[in-house]
Symmetry: C2
Subunit: 188 residues, 2 copies
DNA sequence: GTCTATAAAAAGATAGAC
DNA sequence: GTCTATCTTTTTATAGAC
């Protein structure tokens, strides 16, 4: 089996348990591979597994979020599409965020640069859409940050409360909130 | 030394590294105690240390946040005071949240109920202030949720970006945002 | 590419002296 | 209340057969 086969499993493991919470024994069990086989696919051990998992989720992000955001539909529609994909990624508020989980413990230092770049690229992509829609660049940047903090915060809250409603409501309101003060196209 | 002496140290360790990321060796080093001495103070081991740390931070929360929120000043002033204490707690966006760190890994299952109760009590306390100020209860509840998700999300973002500005801006804007649509008292 | 076996280190936990 | 010493289990990692 090729290593890509195991990336979805690793993704689930690391987003839920973080770096320190995942042992090779757990990975072996979840993948069905022996420990030695894991080292065959990932000679660098757990750190390399996380690196590859980050790259895997980064490809998903680029393809499903960043790409469409730079597309050519109406800006507001692109933001709505983004929220749909965000909801998919986190399964309507039931699943944790890999990036957030990696900011805890030993992994913070190891993967900080990668996490930072991923957060920044999402903030920037949202800001670019809003700028294109006519918002002042500085305000657009702030709203990009608002969007990401809303996603992250609503996930923490929904999972902490065991209630997906706050996440779902926040995501549903997000496009209009980001678009506040901008002319909605083709209202009539 | 009494066990309370070590709670601030444990608080820092667990908020930064979570449950799985903190070993007894680290705790021994940070507290200056031997492992055996730690078991003298906390016979239940690491799990009991986290329990006590949660209780410790809960007392701080009650005294500095929940109590003042139920006080008798102007509602808007109470919300501003809450934001000041929140900023203290997280050192203007530099420090992570214990509750959020405990939602990762093995600790999620163990401490989920405690984390849930803590989040809910903050949401409810904010909602109560807004209801008192004249907001419809359902909307007040949503804004309580918005407040907590903003705090959590801005922390993740600021620490992820290595830039305290998003946290500081979000916290600075929070009281007025929560108060939106309500009459600000004594404007003239 | 996967396995069994094994080694080396770290982590959690306890006994018993002071 | 703190320590040294020790034990057990878990974890990471590797060697080598198939």
């Amino acid at each position: 089996m090729a290593r890509e086969t195991y990336l979805p499993v690793l993704f689930q493991l690391f987003r839920h348990h973080g770096y320190d919470g995942v042992s090779l024994a757990k990975i072996a069990e979840a993948t069905g591979l022996g420990k030695a086989s894991l080292y065959h696919h990932f000679p660098g051990g757990k750190a390399e597994m996380v690196q590859e998992t980050l790259a895997y989720s980064g490809r998903w992000m680029t393809e499903n979020i960043l790409g469409p955001l730079q597309g050519d539909g109406e800006p507001l529609e692109r933001l709505r599409g983004m929220c749909d994909r965000i909801s998919d990624l986190y399964e309507a508020g039931e699943q944790p965020c890999l990036l957030a989980s990696l900011t805890v413990g030993a992994s913070r230092d190891i993967f900080h640069a990668a996490v930072q770049e991923r957060l920044r690229s999402l903030v920037d992509a949202i800001a670019a859409v809003l700028t294109e829609a006519g918002l002042a660049p500085e305000l657009a940047q702030q709203r990009g940050e608002d969007a990401v903090m809303t996603i992250q915060g609503s996930l923490i809250l929904s999972r902490g409360l065991d209630d997906p409603a706050p996440f779902q409501r926040a995501i549903a309101q997000l496009p209009e909130r980001l678009y506040q003060g901008l002319p909605s196209p083709i209202v009539s």
